[in-house]
Subunit: 147 residues, 2 copies
């Protein structure tokens, strides 16, 4: 299950990418636009900033903007930042591997076998999708829908 935090983060990043690289967007505006509780969004943007995904500008005319090219921001990083490892079980995680205390051998553990496949598939999708790619997909879809 994707947490609200991760979901809001992705939505906010998409909106920021759409706003272009040089115009800071205020928390309040982003919150209204994306239907996110403002103070909650504040926490999320702060975290994204502290992780180097966003830059911020204080005071009048301030707000948030992407710190990197949308082509260099991957969904995998965002989801992990807020929800932890992608793997359904710790023993199937690549980035945060923890063995099961009870499991005598992962090679013959059915849960491990199946969940490793789920993790790999999920990682392939999320680590393979940048904000830029996502924007392109959205634009394609909107062309089709509009036509």
């Amino acid at each position: 299950m994707l947490s609200r935090k991760a979901k809001y983060a992705i939505k906010a990043l998409i909106a920021l990418a759409e706003h272009g690289p040089e115009a800071p967007v205020r928390i309040a505006d982003l919150a209204r636009e994306q239907q996110i509780p403002p103070k909650f969004l504040e926490l999320i943007l702060l975290e994204l900033r502290n992780q180097g995904i966003l830059r911020s500008r204080k005071g009048k005319g301030g707000g948030y903007l992407l710190a990197r090219d949308p082509g260099a921001i991957y969904l995998g990083q965002i989801v992990r930042m807020f929800d932890g490892p992608l793997a359904p079980v710790p023993c199937a995680s690549q980035t945060a591997y923890v063995p099961c205390s009870d499991c005598p051998s992962e090679a013959v553990c059915g849960v491990h076998l199946a969940m490793k496949k789920v993790r790999d598939a999920t990682a392939k999708i999320l680590d393979g999708t940048s904000l830029a790619q996502l924007l392109r997909q959205i634009n394609n879809a909107s062309l089709i829908t509009t036509s």
Copy 2:
């Protein structure tokens, strides 16, 4: 994240499949063997029984056994039974679709686009893996490890 319940359920089903189709296994034995809290396992097996995955026999010589062929029991069904829909967000679920109240259009929602792919990949794996297939994979792995 896979819940302990779902994880225990899968482990228990694998163990039951390995015990063969005609010998009931007691909760207590299964619990000891698989390192699962007995009373917790009781709840899980009961649920599996009520969902038609297991049969039970009461009294002396009793216990649990598979109600169907291992080739007809799929991980997807087990995981959904205990953890709900596979999709990371309700709007990406096939079996329990719920639209987002705020989302004006799923076709142009980045979260939806990405999470639908994750759901589809997960479902393909879990709905495509039966207990019988899982057992074969385990046996293959154990041959390789042992050799």
